[in-house]
Symmetry: D2
Subunit: 281 residues, 4 copies
């Protein structure tokens, strides 16, 4: 993204917004490469993501021009951190973590993995191969509150932009969720809202479904109810027993979570109430 | 399927079943083209679908041999009706019916559509273009019981093998469902078990899902809980309003229902409790 | 698309184009709903498709403003015909035609099918069910030149916006293609550029491929080399004999051609040399 | 696959083969779990893959019984090596290798990676993290013949069951290919037979395709002409420049190659002339 300027705006919808925004951009001698906008008519809100070629002499000056051109209380971001920091939480399953860490190692994740925290030490050896610190914080013989406080302290030490729950199998308290509001990304092993809660593959197997899936979503207070970022599915048939369903499902979980992370790293995901806007291209 | 023999068997699982079955088949000078079997280990049940080349001199004799070779109470079908009869129930939406009737017209559906019954007359003109009788049975100003009795009588007149609910938008009573047990096929406009009940696209839109889908299933007492035959999904994004979601969904509904019908016409779908076994190839 | 204004522009790329365009639009009190642009950097060309809400008092005045704002020789279209006229050419296979005519009948195709021309009369009866004229123009006992002249005359009589080759199995001469330049849409039964030419399913079967596909494209002089509009594929396996491959392929052909037609009807497909730009949303 | 017996057979087709095979199996007190067969009618060949539960007291005795029951020259394998050995060849691109090595590390690949050979040392550090030997054999300043001899010696040292070309970017001589006949697996970065040869993504980009793909295949003398094992595709659009196409393509390449390896590890892939039979379930 070198030599490019990224602008993210959300504000009340009005006539002439694109005109106002593109005038400000043209005034600063930037050339629009892609401009994706969305109007949420139900809530009368306007969202836009603009990529411009050319480097910006003065961010402050463009910001001022955009403020003039836009309604009050517009949320304007120019070149948000383009190397976001991540802390990853895991339990025992490796598939999502392995994909994240190898992409990180070869620098195709676009974010910076600062640390991995596990409530088991199963994935410590693997993590440390990549010179990423692994913090083992067991939940055993501990109050949930104390356990979460330890994790919170460990995360806060890194001040990450996002916390990735890469098959972290402990249910989080509302306090924890609120502390990291809008920064917690989870992978749920079903195509939500089907099979909310525990053991979705067992539920799916018992129901005799012909598709399984996975959902990456922001975590909010309501378990498995947060804004969905990416979902995908795969066909299965009667011959899939529970284990084969889980094995097939892991491939989708991994792909869906990695895709969600990449979209977030590129500032393509915008929260809009209980939904997301995802500007894929 | 001319000059082929189709054998469907379900029975208690045991050692030597394939041997016993294939011996009986070989004895009758039939050559096995495809043999697909499935063992439901949880319920200790064995299912097989065999296609043989060569014509059978005596069905009774093969049946007798198979009975000898198999455990007691085995369910054996040799060459079940290979041109099954269908009655289609509709309301106002045309997409599923249009696909069924054009395939029927060009003889690629493999079944025989005997009649269409609608609780509106919206699709009467279209149906009659194909010389299929259309029975308009309104639900208005009528007890549910009377309405269903009229439909039941109309269906029973044709004695169809299957009744296809091709976007029939009235909820059916347990009595009706029981009367046509194992013969009622419905298309539900979501990937069950997500969005059970009314207005699944509105539910999906409100939830901000990134995939929509459709499910063809046998109808049982519990609404939308019957054995699933075929499911499929399609990616959507934030820019889909409710109407566009419905339009995209109709393509999946149509494809899923038609696929389910074709699989059933070819005796590839076997009921197993609240699940189906589908031998696709 | 009632009460909406559609603007299509292509011109030399330059700084400030979006600004100039959106200013012109804002001046006319139109509100931009979606704006999709693409810059072909290799050829320094800019393309944009804008949908605005609100009705335009004066097309001429907006056109004049846009001319002022844009480089010389810009190609500007405001509200191109939104009910395009189609003539469909067929041979014997029904699947693509059936899908087009049923969608046309229920008014979900968005275009106007004026006539069907067949070099066999196989599909005459079906076509006439929908009160669409069918012209049977045999190629037998006729010079190719005469055959094509007859077809050309028949098509020109309707002056259609597009001619759809819905499994029309005669190779067309360069003269014919040039006469209908940029207006001929073909469905090729493979994922081009694989299996150019005759019998692509036989070629695919002999090669042992694990996917088959179809391609909708504009027809140019070079057989099967025109700009691609839509492609899709489907997995197959060793058990597919040639017939089953063809049957599976027909489902893709139908879906791909119909999708291409719908995209063209909505002015979402823009020719750019030997490629297309397709603004799907 | 503990406590299971796997039987692979290919022979001339005949009446009664399934009967003969299943009798032999039943005689040895094994229970058939899955039996997948395929008849190549064109070449009059029969193929079967049988999984039985129960352990075999005497392989020799079952083999003898099967020989009696089958036509002359039948190829019978009972429990072929179930932990196959692999050597992986790479150049500079990491995506396929990373997937193979992480799956190997977590023991979900099912095969045994013995060594990695690279004509650059780019991937040495990564490989050695997993305690796998990396042999750097440069092609520079060397005859092709000498280069291939060095690689051949290095591979032969390990006597692997299969050699995986995981984006190995040197064209191999017929001699090399013959030396490793039926053991060389390649990933080609297009959906063959489209875009044979060099730079398939550039070819695809220039042609303006709407799908890209990848193909895993056995290597034979004819470049990119060997039997196809797995193929998959992904939709792209006009906005994909060459780099983005390559990036998207790498995800497919990786998935397709890994899938092919897994199928081979489980003895699900059977060579049949220039095609493969793949018993997926």
């Amino acid at each position: 993204m070198y030599n490019q300027t990224l602008i993210l705006i959300q504000c009340k919808d009005a006539v002439g917004l694109v005109s106002g925004i593109s005038n400000s951009i043209a005034k600063h001698q930037l050339n629009i490469i892609t401009m994706r906008e969305y109007v949420d008519e139900e809530h009368n809100k306007f969202f836009v993501r603009v990529v411009c070629s050319g480097q910006l002499p003065s961010t402050a000056s463009l910001l001022e021009d955009l403020r003039q051109a836009l309604p009050e209380h517009a949320d304007i971001q120019i070149n948000p951190t383009n190397r976001k920091k991540l802390v990853v939480l895991v339990t025992k399953e490796h598939h999502c973590l392995a994909d994240i860490l190898t992409r990180h190692y070869f620098d195709t994740l676009q974010g910076e993995v600062q640390a991995v925290i596990g409530n088991y030490d199963t994935l410590k050896e693997f993590t440390e191969k990549f010179d990423i610190p692994f913090h083992y914080i067991s939940h055993e013989n501990k109050d949930k509150k104390d356990f979460e406080q330890e994790i919170t302290d460990s995360i806060d030490h890194y001040a990450p932009d996002y916390i990735i729950l890469a098959k972290f199998m402990r249910i989080l308290s509302p306090n924890f969720v609120q502390h990291f509001e809008r920064r917690l990304i989870n992978i749920h092993h079903s195509f939500l809202p089907a099979f909310i809660g525990a053991n979705p593959y067992r539920q799916a197997h018992d129901r005799g479904v012909k598709i399984i899936g996975a959902t990456a979503h922001f975590v909010t207070d309501d378990l498995d109810e947060g804004p969905i970022i990416v979902q995908n599915t795969k066909s299965v048939d009667h011959s899939y027993d529970l284990n084969r369903m889980k094995t097939a499902g892991k491939e989708i979980e991994k792909a869906v979570l990695t895709r969600a992370i990449q979209l977030i790293m590129e500032d393509r995901v915008i929260l809009n109430g209980n939904k997301t806007i995802v500007f894929k291209s």
